[in-house]
Amino acid sequence: MKKTVKVLSLILALALVLTGCVGTKVGQGDGRDAEGNLHISIGGTPTVKNDKNAKTYDLFQENKAKFEAAHPGVIVDADGWSFDLKNYMTKAEGGDLPTMYYTSPTEVNNIVDNGYATDITAMVKKYGYDKMLNNEKYGNLYMRDGKYYALVKDGSLYDMGIAYNIDVFRKADLLDENGVPKFPQTWQELAETAQTIKEKTGKAGLAIATKGGQGGWHFINIMWAFGTEFMEQDKDGKWTATFASDEGVAALQYIKDLKWKYNALQDELLADIQVGGRMLSMGDVGMIITQENMLDYYIEQYGLKADNVAMSKMPAGPAGRFSQVGANIWMFSGTDEQVEMCFEWLDMTGQGPTVSDETKEQLKKSYGIRSEKGHIIGIRTANLWMNEDRIKAEQEAMAPYISVDPKFFEDYTEGKGVAYKFEPERCTQQLYAALDTALQEVVLNKDADCKAVLTKVQDDFQKNFLDKE
């Protein structure tokens, strides 16, 4: 027994010593190598050339050479890592994040709260971005308490809409005289359209996401349309969930009806957004909720044809027409010196607000590459920058590469009557996961009581997350 205690004590002592030894390293030092060169790394850029990324790789290498020539002593490194929550914290703790990497707006609060964000306010002001960014409209995406922690990746702004497979609509006899899908104007109309598709083609009318937090993410748009408020803050700063209201229950009932009354949903009901994207691409569904930049992803992943897809704005509900605004967000990890060089990089590569011949050339090249990939070009709905010359430069660069007939996207790009909203601000991922369970319950259980389901989900969300903040 004594021997066992001794051995265990020895192991414990060694483990504790090693625990102390294997300390965490935050940050990347001063970012200089042994020769004194300052390094910046750009996340999500190709490190190796292959058939798929040859043009992007070449453009990056060309820009890198140009930048390094213009900024002696600075080296730009490609970093193939794209944001992934699974390894984000490990990389952040190990000082292994790229100097510049992109993420989603949902994560910005978490990244700031966990101390991984770099305050870039000084640099934003130095480079004049603050005067040219549309903060009133999009500030929520990248600002916190008046400080800048992020920038929107140029060209990545989006809002939610409905995407249509034109061929499925044709088979369901749902095209107008111009060959454009008859876009449902209300959620009720959407349900009826989805039902028609199912009846006439045997395909699902609408594919919805229900897992991975993505169901909740899409569902909030419908809940807004039914008049749902998600949470409120009292004068002491305490947050209370409020979405199990009559409006929230009506929104959930709508989803339940899509399944049990209209029989309009997909068979694979435990689905993330990839399932809907794959089904749309393969002509197995008529409609999905999505945003414009996801269509490019589906083109690359599942072979969606740009000339077989259309988009409309979000349908209206009893409380109006709402769409969630989002973007890919650049965040930074490094010294002021490194962050400043990142701003120089953004400017040189045409991703900043200033307009020069170089900017125009870069924008043109960028659209050229997207065109070769078969992306949907020409349906930009949102402008990040407020300066007219920048907006004009973008439009001119895009013009030669427009790949779709505007009539299929006008309803979406014009967005008449749409109120744009940001994601709920507290415990966003947890809220989405909670709403997932409500969606799963009502689409899988014909007898589910929407009021009881949503009240349970709200109580759980309140007790498990908001009360423990």
Binding site: A15, T19, K86, M89, D113, N114, G115, K211, L270, K463
Partner: protein
Amino acid sequence: MENKTVIKKQSKAPYKKLGSRLVEARNQSLMWLLLLPMVFTLILCHWNPIFRGMITSLFHTKGFRMVEFVGLNNFKDVISDTLFLKTLWNTVLYVFWSLLLGVIPPLALAIVLNEVVHFKQGFKIITYLPAIAPALAASLIWMNIFSPSPGGLLNVALKAMGLPISQWLLNEHLTIPLIVVSMTWKGYGVTMLLYLSALQSISQELYEASAIDGAGVWRRLFTVTIPHLGPTMLLFVVNQIIGVFQTFDQPLVMTGGGPNNASTTLGLTSYNLAFSYMQVDRSMALGTVSFIILLVATLFYFKMKKRMED
């Protein structure tokens, strides 16, 4: 003379004892030297994260950094979670089904294979093959097999037999057993080979003696085979409990923990807390709770093993 001899013997005894101790120490130091890399790796890669996680669970964290000592608050938070009991129960169900589906069929296969004369080697290879399939790929294959659409592999089979199609993974009563099938399928071969080697170590004379005494097949199975397989089965059962108790990847890939949290496990919740919500402190607290439960199970195993050996 006699006295002298005794004195001589007595005076030499401590030297002899010291000498043998030195030899023993030299032998042991060599043994410890050989063990050192393994012990070092064990401490660095196994014990270090366990202790680090336990310590972290007592702090409020920012990322992985411990910023404030909060005592048992994180434990209070995870245990008071409204889904904790459901998640714990689910995890127990995973263990139950994995024991049912992962212990008995490979045992039956091993017993049959033990009697087979021809193609034994080929059968072993075929049974072992799933073990080399990557876990993620295997999960994706099973997802297609269990697809609830009319085109799902099992549903096609049901339709061909004129039976109604099933929701499979979408049915919250079937989700856990079906995920367990996909998990244990990979391990059947290995488990079966373990049983087979244990079966082959049983003396044939015992079977012959029991046959002479008039014991039939079932009698021989329960009086000779099973008792001799006891230690192997116990080891396997404990390993299975420990492994399955930590399951998170299969439900993560196949159902995301749904439908309606019906397949969520303690491991998956711990994973989500750390890697979806960046709440490392609570994740570590839940991990520690799981560790304590498994520690109790392991101690129980040692006690049972000792009793069996006695």
